[in-house]
């Protein structure tokens, strides 16, 4: 019985070491991919959050909690920020050589308003 217990504890220890050290044993290209994915996930979350803010602002305006002037100003700012996020997402997706310069004209202009 004691041997079985000893083996179980050793197996648990081995499993813990395997799980915990896996990132340290990963290859460099996997780490690079993870880094890029992290940047993309941050931007996706920011985009989602910005879209929600735009929808919220519109609902606030339509239910009488934002004046039209405040809403238009806020909406313009939020859409500008959303476009900037989309541009940075496109930069991540595009190959490095094709990526537009950060201050390329026409980028980041709010659409429609």
């Amino acid at each position: 019985m004691e041997v079985v217990v000893f083996l179980i504890v050793i197996a648990l220890l081995g499993a813990v070491v395997l799980v915990v050290t896996a990132p340290l044993r990963a290859r460099a290209h996997v780490r690079v991919a993870a880094r890029e994915e992290a940047a993309r996930a941050d931007l996706e979350a920011a985009k989602e959050s910005k879209y929600r803010e735009i929808r919220d602002a519109e609902l606030d305006y339509r239910t009488g909690k934002l004046s039209e002037a405040d809403w238009r100003a806020l909406d313009r700012d939020l859409r500008g920020e959303a476009v900037e996020i989309l541009r940075r997402l496109d930069e991540l997706d595009a190959p490095a050589a094709d990526a537009p310069a950060p201050d390329a004209p026409g980028d980041g202009e709010p659409g429609g308003r």
């Binding site: 648990l12 813990v16 991919a33 994915e37 992290a38 979350a45 959050s49 803010e53 339509r62």
Partner: protein
């Protein structure tokens, strides 16, 4: 298996220590692999805690009395249903439950943000592992759930009878989920301050966990209230007990945080306030855990005196020092991006809501710790009672409910006369009409606080109805959908907003119940013999006949029950018949005689409740044991003679059963008068209904948007493709 359990805890302690070092070392962008390793240390702790918890549960379910905690908190007669829950009725088992839930929730949040907030998460991981290490350390060095007895007894002491209630199965895991979930925004706040990334992103990432903490802690509090009402035999649902208060304090500040983060997200304001609130909430969650375990304050819910107080005090001190230092050192980063434009604005309403909630928390804190404060100042321990709490909490609660109506409809930045009229005219009219109608109906004019609460609650319900009406109108105008479809899509697309409004409706309903049941309750303690009746409020209650019987479980006597069959009527019409009784469980006290053990041990009340939407009838019996005491004494003497004569254990068990049966039969034939507590309490059911609505709203607000879930799946696929292309 105890050795495996102990080994899991020792391994978990080592993994926590490693993970803290790896996470902090991996905070530099060049050493991300170490941060990932630290994150995986949290997963490993979750795995080890799961194995340890499973071992403890198996020990309870299989009656392994070689485990000290099983022998002292379970028995063969404890129903299977409660054996599983008995694990966390002990100090040691509840520490393990804390660690298990903490590690699971921490793993979940770190898994969800594994590709995000790469600068904040290493510090947050270290903090979460710090909490894990603290609780694991307590179990390894001070209160091991895997301590073994030198010789296993044939049977255990049994679960405290007061805990044998359905809600007690769920109440502690809910409370602990709330406490442990509140450590997550705490950890991310520390991480954000340490990484100097104090934008709203850490809030966005952990908001759902703050909401989940609020949700679970709220359910725990409500289940505790329900247990108190149905089990404790005094007829109330809230007694301002220190341990109840301990769970309420982080819930109040957590509620404030959930509201004020909206101001930071929308306007970039209140950054110092938000970060301070969440740090205070995390600290209060640990303070709540400390209060239950230290024995410094007397409470029916506490584990009693223990040696765990000092480590907890050190942990709380460390949390306060770290929080204050970080907030002070990062104060320049935390400046507001905008100013408050007007006191008549949504921002001001939210700020008011926060001040009231924090004010309530302060009142509860002061009242809870008053015995310690008074002892420190005067040398005498003095406690404050429910009237003291009511003096301050009632007006504050009234303002809070009022603000829960104003908040959803008032304009951002500045409310003009025109939009204030448009938004408040109908709800204010509904509130006034409600007040006038109630005064005209009579009976409420001497209860101004209750009248005000009914009017304010009506105002809130009207505000939310109007807001939903307008939202549906706007949705229909934009999409051309029908009313039902527009309502569903409106809520689906704005879950957080309409989930929140639903919570406000639930709180209004709940406070109607609290106001009505507090202000218009009738309670009496009466002594009745069989056949006699008494009146309480609108009810007439008759003690029909005595009831006495023995409950047997696993071929052993579980408890002796003495009670009464009652008949409840109103206006001459019989509404209900039922039994209220008191169950007496045997004490494991060798100084008591074998029969006395059944009457001098723990007892639980089984109350008779006739619940309805308009009013509850509540009744509990307190049998007069002095009249049966001579029989108990004679039975003890008879048992003593049998033991002295060398009777075998089996013969003793049979004799004990016969003697107890005789006492029970005598009680049934010649019942002494019994004391009854009778209560007519209006609208208590509204409290439970309000709670259900609140938590329904919480679920709506927490539920992830389907498009977000799809996007996460797509992101996962993209990561996989990138990784596999890299390998090829």
């Amino acid at each position: 298996m105890a050795t495996v359990g102990r080994s899991c805890l020792i391994l978990a302690l080592g993994v926590c220590a490693y993970g803290i070092v790896a996470s902090l070392y991996g905070a530099s962008p060049a050493r991300r692999a170490w941060a990932d390793s630290g994150r995986r240390a949290v997963y490993a702790v979750a795995g080890l805690a799961t194995v340890a918890f499973a071992i403890l549960e198996i020990a309870f379910l299989s009656n392994d009395f070689s485990f000290s905690v099983v022998a002292s908190h379970s028995s063969r007669t404890t129903p299977f249903f409660y054996k599983g829950a008995a694990a966390w009725s002990s100090q040691e088992g509840s520490l393990l439950l804390w660690l298990w839930l903490l590690s699971l929730w921490s793993s979940l949040v770190l898994f969800l943000v594994r590709r995000r907030l790469r600068d904040v998460t290493p510090y947050a991981t270290a903090v979460l592992l710090g909490f894990g290490g603290f609780f694991t350390g307590l179990m390894v060095f001070a209160a091991s759930p895997f301590a073994l007895l030198a010789a296993a007894p044939a049977d255990g002491v049994g679960l405290n009878p007061l805990l044998r209630h359905g809600s007690m199965m769920i109440h502690p895991p809910m409370l602990y989920s709330g406490y442990t979930l509140f450590t997550i925004p705490f950890a991310f706040a520390i991480g954000a301050l340490a990484a100097r990334r104090v934008d709203a992103e850490w809030i966005t990432s952990t908001r759902r966990f703050a909401l989940a903490a609020w949700f679970f802690l709220g359910i725990g509090i409500l289940l505790g209230a329900r247990w108190s009402y149905a089990e404790l035999g005094w007829g109330g649902y809230w007694a301002w007990d220190p341990v109840e208060n301990a769970s309420l304090m982080p819930w109040l500040t957590g509620t404030a945080f959930i509201h004020s983060i909206m101001i930071q997200e929308k306007r970039g304001m209140l950054k110092i306030w938000n970060v301070s609130l969440v740090l205070a909430t995390g600290t209060l969650a640990i303070l709540g855990t400390f209060l239950v375990r230290s024995g410094i304050l007397d409470s029916i819910h506490a584990f009693g005196a223990s040696t765990l107080g000092i480590p907890f005090v050190l942990l709380i001190a460390a949390m306060i020092v770290a929080s204050v230092s970080l907030v002070v050192s990062r104060r320049r980063l935390l400046h507001s991006e905008n100013r408050l434009d007007s006191l008549l604005s949504r921002e001001a309403a939210f700020l008011g809501n926060n001040l009231v909630l924090v004010g309530l928390c302060f009142v509860v804190f002061w009242g809870t710790f008053f015995p310690l404060i008074s002892e420190a100042v005067t040398g005498t321990k003095a406690a404050v009672g429910p009237p003291w709490f009511s003096r301050y909490t009632v007006p504050l609660a009234l303002v809070l409910v009022l603000l829960s109506g104003i908040g959803p409809v008032i304009a951002w930045r500045r409310a003009t006369v025109a939009n204030a009229r448009r938004n408040f005219l109908v709800p204010a009219a509904v509130g006034v009409v409600t007040a006038v109608a109630l005064v005209a109906a009579g009976g409420v004019d001497r209860k101004p606080w209750a009248l005000a609460m009914f009017a304010v609650a009506a105002f809130v319900l009207a505000c939310v109805w109007q807001e939903l009406w307008r939202g549906v109108g706007a949705r229909r105008a934009m999409s051309g959908e029908g009313p039902a479809r527009a309502t569903v899509s409106l809520v689906r697309r704005n879950r957080r907003r309409y989930g929140g409004y639903t919570v406000h409706v639930g709180m209004a309903v709940l406070f109607i119940g609290v106001a009505a049941s507090s202000a218009f309750q009738h309670a009496r303690d009466v002594v009745l013999s069989p056949g006699q009746s008494a009146k309480v409020g609108a009810y007439t209650v008759q003690y029909v006949r005595p009831r006495a019987w023995i409950s047997v479980k696993a071929d052993q006597i579980e408890r002796v029950n003495l009670g009464a069959d009652m008949r409840v009527s109103r206006g001459g019409k019989v509404l209900a018949s039922g039994t209220t009784y008191r169950g007496y469980y045997p004490a494991q006290d060798p100084t008591l005689g074998p029969v006395s053990q059944y009457f001098d041990g723990e007892a639980e009340s089984q109350v008779l409740i006739k619940a309805g939407l308009r009013r509850d009838f509540w009744s509990a019996i307190q049998p007069d044991l002095t009249r049966v005491q001579p029989m108990i004494d004679r039975a003890d003497k008879a048992m003593g003679k049998m033991v002295a004569a060398g009777a075998k254990p089996a013969q003793q068990a049979v004799a004990l059963a016969v003697l107890l049966r005789t006492i029970v039969d005598q009680y049934g034939v010649h019942p002494p008068p019994a004391t009854f507590r009778l209560i007519d309490s209006p609208m208590v059911t509204w409290i439970w209904l309000g709670g259900l609505i609140v938590f329904g709203g919480g679920l709506i607000a927490m539920w992830p948007a389907p498009d977000a879930a799809r996007r996460r799946v797509r992101a996962g696929y993209r990561a996989r493709v990138a990784q596999e292309l890299g390998r090829a």
